[in-house]
């Protein structure tokens, strides 16, 4: 094996000659190894049509190349297997126990038992009621980011792409929240939402509109508080316990969106600025208006970026943690799967087995978008 070209590992199936891997199998019969291996490509038609590239640059890997490749791929692979998949396996094993983190994992008294799928039963049957609440919150988080924040980010990108003045300034403004950590964003938004005497501007503006005569640019507007619906609404909504009320997940995901919109804007703007202008020109020659140009030409061509954005948004929603944890420790009403894991497995609760079961559920759910993303990427590469 060590002497052979690396490609010889491919199965010798001449019938599959249409695929890149199979194309080189035609060379695998060759005993020529090392540097001279390049000649084994001689028979390949595509390379023979490119005489300058063919022989000089495209030869089989040398032993040194293989070593470098093995090191470069192998070391990350080993780390990946140990740190990621090893942890997943250990986590799965823990999830089958009621271990509390001390002493033997199984085979002892209480909290050292193999409990089979008990932890999962408790989750799915609703015996642990916070689980389904958290699932609903995560789904809401995902839906909000996907259908509100992400489209808003794309819209911002399209607007910023249309040669507005001061692009750099806008871009900076939208991107600043992305630079901040979510924990910091949590603190910033708690101040905005604060309802008490140390209240933030949201409550301030609402109660100002609902209870007093606002003066805007020197003009007294005495009637806002007297407008039947709006005035009453302002009074009702002011002093709302934004981050503690039953619907606290909404203000929290809005805070998360503040950052997410900027992230998507920058990502999409980069794509738009690399966009081939001739396509746009062609569309306008064909008489397409701005909207048609975007939806019929730009959006489809941006497919690779669209896929990345969908995947990023999904991952952001699944790993949502910081904001809820900094706000109230992920307690009711801000339960998320991630905070349940933390509060069970690595808190004073020391329910490591149970918390691991939630982590396994989250891991399995997270695999779905990743598999879809990889499948799509690979299909594109084949094409």
């Amino acid at each position: 094996m060590a002497d052979k070209p690396v490609t010889s590992a491919a199965p010798e199936q001449p019938g599959k000659s249409g695929l890149p891997g199979a194309a080189v199998t035609s060379a695998s019969g060759s005993r020529q190894a090392g540097r001279s291996g390049g000649s084994s490509f001689r028979d390949r038609a595509p390379f023979n049509r490119l005489p300058f590239i063919g022989r000089q640059r495209w030869h089989l890997l040398t032993r040194k190349d293989k070593l470098v490749l093995a090191v470069m791929v192998g070391i990350p692979l080993i780390f990946d297997l140990i740190l990621i998949w090893g942890s997943v396996l250990v986590d799965f094993f823990w999830s089958l126990t009621d271990w509390h983190g001390f002493g033997a994992m199984t085979g002892g008294g209480p909290s050292h038992q193999f409990v089979g799928l008990d932890n999962y039963t408790q989750l799915f049957s609703g015996t642990y009621p916070f689980f389904w609440t958290a699932v609903v919150h995560n789904i809401f988080w995902l839906a909000f980011l996907m259908f509100v924040a992400t489209p808003l980010g794309i819209l911002m990108a399209v607007i910023l792409d249309s040669k507005v003045k001061g692009l750099v300034i806008y871009r900076t403004v939208f991107y600043i929240p992305v630079v901040l950590s979510l924990a910091l964003i949590g603190i910033i938004w708690q101040l905005q939402y604060a309802p008490d005497s140390n209240r933030g501007w949201i409550d301030g503006v609402l109660s100002w509109l609902g209870y007093s005569h606002p003066v805007v640019f020197g003009i007294d507007i005495p009637f806002v508080k007297d407008i039947p619906l709006i005035g009453q609404w302002c009074r009702d909504v002011s002093h709302t316990d934004w981050v503690g009320g039953p619907l606290a997940i909404i203000p929290t995901v809005i805070a998360a969106s503040w950052r997410h919109v900027g992230y998507i804007t920058i990502l999409y703007l980069a794509g738009l600025q690399a966009f081939d202008p001739t396509l746009r020109e062609a569309a306008s020659i064909d008489g397409a208006n701005a909207r048609q140009t975007f939806f019929k030409v730009v959006f489809p061509v941006m497919k690779p970026i669209n896929v990345v954005i969908v995947v990023i948004t999904t991952i952001e929603a699944l790993r949502a943690f910081d904001l809820a944890y900094i706000t109230n420790g992920g307690r009711s009403p801000l339960e998320l799967l991630s905070t349940l894991i933390t509060n069970n497995a690595i808190s004073e609760s020391t329910r490591i087995g149970f918390g691991s079961a939630i982590a396994v559920v989250l891991a399995v759910v997270s695999l779905v978008p990743i598999v879809i993303f990889l499948a799509m990427t690979m299909r594109e590469e084949k094409q």
Binding site: F102, F130, N198, G244, G245, N328, N343, N344, E348, S349
Partner: protein
């Protein structure tokens, strides 16, 4: 625990025991609690501060602490009441903790506001409700609450349960010997529901310190919470002088006579897995015995006036009036409980456990109580503890 107060106690130890050097490692309260399990299993210091009761026993059961009966056999043994000794004893009947400081869960208020508005201290639940209604009419939030940390609401459950069902029922409920679906528990939530209209709204999003700030600002009438002295201290000497408390009123049940209340005890324990323990054992035990002395605790309480010493020979001459009142309140109580998160399984009382259930109750008190209590009981049952 305030840093400089602890430093004063330790400095006194070092003066008395030249040749022993004590290094202190103070960690943020919540961080310490959240990481306690991995900390104790891996590389703990010799002596750590922790909470008494079930919360101590759960970790003792895992073999993470060293028994210190020999210290209790020494001079400190006579300084503590039987209730305190019980709180420091684990399931194996050995003692593991040297108690250090304690505080009472009582109702705090600002006397000048009450005098101005003609309020008087309520002694029964009905009087409390009448007073609360009066406060509401005066535009004052009657009962302040900030439950963002999850635990303050537990103190409210505890005291209502102690008054309605008595000490033994409460202790049994916490230990799982009584069910959460018991009619007694239904009664507790019904009484609590009757008080909620007088509670500060939006408790789940507010820190208890911010709720206490409402007392300082005289926008809140009263508040069941320990340690609000800290907030008043920060607000200035004039405010601190204008603060008083009273024990939770009677409910007109046979259990009133117990005068029971939550009085959590903090103390010091000897870890089991410290790498330096073998070499330092004698010095560590000497430190624990020293910390158990009334004179040491008096030094500490002098600097942290929201707490009082546990030892009965502690020097009380430097106590503030509020500290002296805490001493008499605790002495009058025939039964003392620790606190819900110390009296029950830590897995049960956690953030996504009982804390979540209580927040759920506070924001939705009109839900089906039978279903609600059933959920709590099945959660308890699922813990297998």
């Amino acid at each position: 625990m305030p840093k400089q107060a602890l430093a004063a106690a330790v400095a006194a130890f070092q003066t008395a025991n030249s040749g022993v050097t004590v290094s202190i490692n103070t960690v943020d309260h919540t961080t310490f609690q959240n990481n306690i399990s991995s900390y104790l299993a891996a590389t703990p210091e010799d002596v750590i501060t922790w909470f008494s009761g079930y919360r101590m026993r759960a970790f003792v059961d895992q073999g993470l602490f060293t028994a210190i009966d020999d210290i209790w056999a020494g001079p400190i043994g006579s300084l503590y009441t039987d209730a305190v000794k019980t709180a420091c004893t684990a399931n194996d009947s050995k003692k593991y903790m040297v108690p250090f400081d304690t505080y009472a869960w009582t109702v705090y208020y600002v006397p000048s506001l009450w005098t101005k508005n003609g309020y008087t201290v309520p002694t029964t639940l009905d009087e409390l409700k009448t007073l609360a209604a009066k406060m509401q009419k005066d535009g004052i939030v009657p009962i302040g609450l900030g439950d963002k940390d999850g635990w303050p609401a537990m103190g409210h459950f505890d005291i209502i349960d102690l008054r309605e069902n008595g000490y033994q029922f409460h202790v049994d409920l916490m230990a799982g010997k009584k069910k959460w679906t018991d009619p007694g528990v239904v009664q507790v939530f019904n009484v609590w529901k009757g008080l909620l209209p007088f509670y500060q709204s939006g408790a789940a999003g507010r820190l208890w310190q911010d709720a206490a700030a409402g007392l300082v600002a005289k926008t809140t009438g009263m508040m069941l919470q320990p340690q609000v002295v800290q907030t008043f201290q920060a607000a200035g000497a004039a405010n601190l002088a204008d603060l008083d408390f009273f024990p939770w009123p009677h409910h007109g049940t046979q259990w009133d006579a117990e005068e029971a209340l939550d009085a959590p005890i903090d103390g010091f324990m000897l870890t089991a897995n410290s790498s330096t323990l073998a070499a330092d054992s004698a010095a560590a035990k000497a430190l624990l015995a020293f910390l158990g002395q009334g004179s040491t605790q008096g030094l500490y309480a002098k600097l942290s006036t929201d707490l009082i010493a546990v030892a009965n020979n502690a020097d009380q001459s430097s106590y503030t009036p509020l500290q002296k009142k805490q001493v008499t309140t605790l002495a009058a109580a025939k039964k003392l409980t620790q606190f819900m998160d110390r009296d029950t399984n830590p897995g049960f009382s956690g953030a996504n456990g009982m804390q979540g259930f209580l927040i759920d109750f506070l924001s939705n008190p009109n839900q089906d109580m039978t279903a609600f209590l059933k959920k709590i009981q099945s959660f308890w049952d699922s813990l297998g503890a």
